[in-house]
């Protein structure tokens, strides 16, 4: 098996994908990163024409007003403006959680109002900030959980792709990481049973389902069990938020990607005493916020994720 072509070896490709910046588009075929380029908008649009395109936004933290971003609602609005200006209309949007900062009704209302302007179907999963109401997630479920199971998990099919939204921010254990729990894992097992291994899978949840940085809690205790249930599929894409920065990796047929926040950046793992809102000069903030466009070419393996900033 050829590990590389065009003189780009696998190690170099992976290095490029980690901490990738604006407009990096990459494809994966049979688990090997192939044809890695820094793309202009035109090329990205061309790629989008090939198949299903959807958007991922994350960590809007509506209600946040501290030094790292005094107006998180305004930057969410900027992200939605970007969506409206896209040359090709995406099929739908996913929001990978932390819609609000404190689960308050007014925060949910404001988020809904701004996100609604994109006039797209939005599939949500909650972040830990969305389930800190008195009833531990009722406010979120009342609003977004109509077709969901348990604490808000669900799946749907679109253009031959099976999408799975998971919840890993509830019933967290002392000293632990994100948590899916037995009931949800059982549901997942049943959900994918009988599906052809050639069905492309996109699974999304708030906290990374893979271990990004244990010391800061950036992982999911039973995430590996969920991934094991998806291992037989030829193409699995794992989309997460929570860490407010892009981290990507490829493992076999699985590709992992975390999205930027629309509210504030967080430090890179280990570069600060703790995670949390990172204060950057005002003129740099928008280079560290953004959203992701995901394209899945029909009938083939390749998948492309383009990250764009608000700058």
């Amino acid at each position: 098996m050829a590990d590389h072509d065009d003189g780009i070896n696998r190690r170099h490709a992976l290095e490029c994908m980690i901490w990738a910046g604006t407009g990096v588009l990459w494809t994966v075929s049979g688990g090997v990163p192939k044809s890695l380029n820094l793309l202009g908008d035109a090329q990205a649009a061309e790629q989008s024409a090939a198949g299903l395109t959807f958007l991922q936004i994350s960590d809007s933290h509506v209600g946040f007003d501290k030094a790292a971003n005094p107006n998180a609602l305004a930057t969410l609005q900027e992200a939605i403006d970007k969506v409206g200006a896209m040359p090709q209309r995406p099929a739908f949007m996913i929001h990978t959680g932390d819609i609000t900062h404190l689960s308050r009704a007014a925060e949910f209302d404001n988020a809904d109002q701004v996100i609604g302007k994109a006039k797209l179907d939005v599939h949500y999963v909650p972040g830990e900030h969305d389930v800190i109401d008195e009833d531990g997630g009722k406010a979120y479920l009342d609003r977004y959980g109509k077709n969901a199971k348990g604490a808000g998990w669900y799946s749907f099919d679109q253009a031959g792709v099976h999408f799975i939204g998971l919840v890993n921010v509830l019933d967290l254990k002392a000293g632990g990481l994100g948590n899916l729990g037995e009931e949800q894992l059982k549901w997942l097992e049943d959900d994918v049973r009988g599906k052809s291994a050639s069905t492309p899978i996109v699974v999304f949840a708030h906290v990374p389902l893979w271990l990004v940085y244990e010391k800061w809690g950036w992982g999911t205790d039973d995430g590996a069990r969920a991934l094991a249930l998806l291992k037989r599929f030829g193409s699995v894409t794992v989309l997460n938020g929570h860490i407010h920065q892009i981290v990507q990796k490829v493992e076999g047929n699985m590709t992992f990607h975390t999205a930027r926040s629309t509210a504030f950046p967080q430090p890179e793992p280990g570069t600060a005493p703790s995670p949390g809102p990172k204060v950057v000069p005002a003129d740099q903030l928008r280079t560290m916020l953004g959203l992701s466009t995901v394209t899945i070419a029909s009938g083939q393996r390749p998948l492309a994720i383009v990250d764009s900033t608000l700058a």
Binding site: L102, G175, K215, W216, G276
Partner: protein, 110 residues
């Protein structure tokens, strides 16, 4: 009810009030800071009856939940506090339900 109050007992009451106040102020109090996703001190030793107050100095909300459920705070936004009086001797482990890698304990002795 007999509401007569002799001059003597009235003065006794007046003297007793500030004494009560003094007794309250002497009740033990201790503090735990929440800063950079860490409880400081991570292990706090107090006498029974001590009122422990957590204060969140982060720009991110945190919560405090005792393992076993003896107490649970509301989400503490920046600058918010939560207090609990430890009436019984023993060790109580607690953690933040939003960031469960944040753990601490209070050791209470008579």
């Amino acid at each position: 009810m007999n509401m007569t109050l002799s001059r003597r007992s009235f003065s006794a009451l007046v003297f007793a009030l500030p004494l009560l106040g003094t007794a309250r102020a002497e009740e033990e109090a201790a503090h735990i800071m929440i800063d950079n996703f860490v409880f400081t001190p991570a292990e706090l030793k107090v006498k029974t009856g001590t009122k422990v107050t957590w204060k969140n100095d982060d720009d991110i909300p945190h919560t405090i939940l005792a393992k076993g459920g003896a107490f649970r705070s509301k989400p503490l936004d920046t600058g918010d506090e939560f207090s609990y009086v430890f009436a019984k001797a023993g060790k109580v482990d607690y953690f933040c339900t939003l960031h469960p890698h944040m753990v601490g304990s209070v050791i209470v002795t008579d």
